[in-house]
Symmetry: C2
Subunit: 121 residues, 2 copies
């Protein structure tokens, strides 16, 4: 079982799909870096029992991303919003420097407001 | 058990979280408008068994939206993208009519490309 960053990310997005106990065990293992033996001692079960429980939780998280794709979509969204913001800045600079149109300025402010809102998703 | 449109939407977003059999039963009921009795006959189980299975599937779908919020987020995204597009159109019209800046025009094209991409999410 390899410990990795990816599981922490999956936990952020899909942790709520796990049972409380599953989430607790997998957080001990991946976020708090406890060993299987240490987690086994907490629950008073075998190391194999902990390993199985973590494996099941991992499967739920991985499958959720395959099926729902929230991490994939959020990454794409962030890239597109950054690209939009860059182009809005170009228009803004051009407008401020050359045209000084209030109408364009107001539209830019509206767009930036929506971008801020979407970046909080 | 009230039949409604909302379950069909939940099925579109989270149907993959159900087992094949759960999904099939709930689709018979909500999308194909079969009665509990008709579905019971297909599986050769009781009406109560079908009802329980559909109830469980509904709980999975409803909980998934509460926890992950994909439908809520998608609606908000669509609203923001429409608002951005409207403001880009205002800038575009102003630019075409008055300033005819190639730089602004190019930025507008880039933004519209990203909006098209995001609308396909």
């Amino acid at each position: 079982m390899s410990k990795n960053l990816e599981i922490s990310t999956l936990l952020d997005y899909y942790g709520m799909l796990l049972t409380d106990k599953q989430r607790e065990a997998i957080e001990y293992y991946y976020n708090d870096d406890l060993s299987l033996g240490e987690i086994a001692a907490i629950y008073n079960i075998t190391r194999q029992g902990v390993r199985d429980s973590i494996k099941r939780a991992e499967a739920v998280l991985t499958e959720a991303e395959e099926k729902i794709g929230l991490i994939r979509t959020t990454k794409m969204l962030a890239e597109s919003l950054a690209a939009i913001r860059k182009n809005v800045d170009i228009i803004d600079q051009r407008n401020m420097r050359v045209y000084r149109s209030d109408e364009i300025n107001e539209s830019i402010i509206n767009i930036l407001k929506e971008l801020d809102r979407l970046e909080e998703i």
